[in-house]
């Protein structure tokens, strides 16, 4: 539902059905709403059977990369004599994204149920939920839910009487965007600096504590109980576009828009209807200018691109961007794109772990140049310099943080070059002048 707004008739509230209902937070309330039936069912199935259901459903990772969940789980080999781990990525730090926060605040047991099913399916006895340090309320809610689940025997050495051990621990991060990258998260969980690791080895081979590990996003795991309860065919049928993009997805909407908040739609939903109908369009007297549709790390779309996009993994790519995490950032015609791209670059410069030269230097220099252009000191030579730096930052580092910084810069220069040029030729930010007038 359109939390914090009322549900829109065009939404398909599955994950978000109980957002805003405090009773759904408790174990009893969750059971009244059908909770833990899927876990009970899963514990009576073989891990391989669960993996097959997920593969058939078409569920793909909701954290950004969109990797098929069933396939990811199939890389784990239960019974190989090694300790296996499941890490839940609740480090939601991608600017524009705030969906996992609401899942944890309102339906903590949905996440626990999906996590327990995941742990059992990959042969893990222990799962860690890594929550970003700033999420103090979700942290408290999740810790209370874990306590309830242990007290009820849902978690522990004999989960729901199945004879299987499933332990879930909540682990608090401490302020580092990069820890949302899966290998950095594992290092952080081990008590190290959150530097990403070189792959291979991939986590399924040597991950947390050197053992086979799967990392899943909060929203992905929260969807798993629904898939088991209703069947793979039901989930697969939920698609408005193509069979590679199935199910419902939460989109977080923020920036210059009438009704910011979370909205849940079936994949393939027309982005134009989404922006103007569900989200209420621009603020009075304004026009939309640009959209970053999948969190700050994906390329910026013009309105022409956005309005012809179908909201799924393939649809955003076809229109010059990516689905990413589903964090929709909207800028209207009162906003300076140079200023915002510079601010995003500063974000990445601040959050770079500084292991790789291209990222450490690239994010810092990109920020300096963009801030100089915004301040009126830019030259036409800066375009070439920025694009050359961006090229050096793309596909050349251990993780994709540096690529993520390059994406808004390159797409911004491609699609909003006239705004950069206006800054350079006018030797000042044209939007600042307007604001002062």
């Amino acid at each position: 539902m359109g939390y914090p707004h009322k549900s829109h008739p065009k939404e398909t509230p599955i994950l978000s059905k109980y957002f805003g209902e405090p009773q759904a937070r408790t174990l009893d309330g969750w059971k009244e709403r059908g909770g833990y039936r899927a876990l009970q069912q899963a514990l009576g199935m073989t891990p391989a059977d669960i993996v097959n259901v997920l593969k058939e459903s078409g569920l793909r990772g909701r954290g950004g990369a969109g990797f098929p969940t069933g396939t990811k789980w199939s890389f784990m080999k239960p019974g190989d004599g090694k300790a296996h781990y499941l890490c839940v990525n609740a480090d939601e730090s991608e600017p524009g994204t705030f969906k996992d926060r609401e899942i944890m605040r309102w339906t903590p047991h949905a996440l626990l149920e999906g996590t327990a099913i995941g742990a059992y399916s990959i042969g893990a006895e222990v799962a860690y939920i890594y929550i970003r340090g700033e999420f103090t309320e979700p942290l408290r809610v999740m810790e209370a839910a874990v306590k309830e689940a242990y007290a009820a025997g849902i978690l522990g050495s004999n989960a729901m009487g199945s004879g299987h051990r499933i332990d879930i621990h909540v682990h608090r991060g401490a302020g580092a965007y990069i820890c949302g990258e899966e290998t950095a998260m594992m290092n952080s969980l081990e008590g190290r600096r959150g530097n990403p690791r070189i792959k291979p080895p991939f986590p399924a081979v040597a991950g947390l504590f050197g053992q086979p590990t799967t990392i899943n996003n909060v929203e992905t795991l929260a969807a798993v109980p629904h898939v088991l309860n209703n069947g793979a065919a039901w989930y697969k049928a939920m698609s408005l576009s193509n069979p590679k993009s199935t199910g419902s997805k939460l989109f977080s909407v923020c920036g210059n828009v009438t009704r910011p908040g979370n909205y849940e739609v079936v994949l393939g939903f027309p982005f134009k209807d989404f922006l103007y109908d569900l989200c209420g369009g621009p603020l009075p007297g304004r026009k939309f200018k640009a959209v970053i549709p999948g969190g700050s790390s994906v390329p910026i779309q013009t309105m022409e691109e956005a309005e012809s996009t179908l909201m799924d993994y393939e649809g955003f790519v076809a229109k010059g961007s990516m689905l990413g995490s589903g964090g929709v950032i909207i800028f209207d015609d009162s906003q300076c794109m140079v200023k915002h791209i510079a601010r995003l670059a500063r974000f990445y410069a601040h959050e770079s772990c500084a292991q790789c030269t291209q990222c450490r230097e690239g994010t810092a220099w990109t920020t300096k140049i963009l801030e100089r252009i915004e301040a009126g000191g830019g030259t036409m030579q800066d375009f070439e310099t920025l694009l050359e730096i961006a090229d050096n930052m793309t596909g050349k580092t251990i993780c994709v943080l540096s690529d993520s910084c390059a994406a808004p810069v390159v797409s911004g220069i491609q699609k909003f070059k006239h705004e950069f040029e206006a800054h350079i030729t006018g030797k000042r930010c044209p939007f600042r002048a307007t604001a002062a007038a």
């Binding site: 914090p4 300790a83 939601e92 730090s93 991608e94 600017p95 524009g96 994204t97 705030f98 926060r101 970003r132 340090g133 700033e134 999420f135 103090t136 309320e137 332990d167 621990h169 682990h171 608090r172 991060g173 401490a174 302020g175 580092a176 965007y177 952080s188 969980l189 081990e190 008590g191 190290r192 600096r193 959150g194 504590f209 977080s252 909407v253 923020c254 920036g255 210059n256 910011p260 908040g261 979370n262 700050s296 964090g327 950032i329 800028f331 906003q335 200023k339 915002h340 601010r343 995003l344 974000f347 601040h350 959050e351 772990c353």
Partner: protein, 184 residues
């Protein structure tokens, strides 16, 4: 809360002493009694002692208001890590305070989505009304420290701020005076 204030005051005194502060004011270990038990319980969650480092640092900050060098030595001894290693980890994460901060530590999100919704004006209002001369500086009365923070993950509720562990959504410059009355 009073323990935290007391700890912070003591820490401040240490911070201002010249050279090694150990010996001038004896360091009070954090992990004794109930807190030692809390640490032991944490160790049961992980296959290595090192993995308890981040949660242990959170305990230190909760009890003392910040993470001093002495506390880094102490937790290093508990988890069999060198002080240099612990410091390396502490300095990686922005939420661990390496020096005492105001009683109310205020973090304001100014990343692009909030920036597009007027976060800069919220920062200005907070600085003016707390008496903090600059970002990161503590107000002369020791009550407030205001910092900018990167994306708080509540972009649809611009502008979110955090005051210690309290998360406050949809802050505007007009709401600042009322918010500050809750944090004396």
């Amino acid at each position: 809360m009073s323990a935290q204030r007391e700890g912070a005051t003591q820490g401040e005194a240490m911070d201002h002493s010249s050279g090694g502060s150990i010996g001038e004011i004896p360091y009070r270990p954090v992990f004794v009694g109930a807190l030692k038990e809390e640490l032991e319980a944490l160790l049961g969650r992980y296959p290595t002692k090192m993995a308890a480092l981040l949660p242990a640092l959170w305990i230190i900050q909760r009890e003392r208001g910040w993470v001093s060098e002495e506390a880094m030595v102490e937790i290093g001894q508990q988890l069999e890590l060198t002080p240099a290693y612990v410091k390396g980890v502490v300095t990686f994460y922005t939420m661990y305070h390496q020096h005492p901060v105001g009683r109310h530590f205020i973090q304001v999100c100014t990343t692009s989505p909030c920036g597009a919704c007027g976060a800069e004006k919220v920062v200005e209002a907070l600085l003016a009304q707390t008496g903090c001369v600059d970002l990161g500086a503590t107000s002369p009365d020791g009550r407030y420290t205001v910092v900018e923070v990167e994306c708080l993950g509540a972009c649809g509720f611009a502008t979110p701020i955090m005051v210690n562990d309290d998360f406050i959504e949809s802050v505007t410059p007009e709401k600042v005076p009322q918010i500050l009355t809750q944090f004396k």
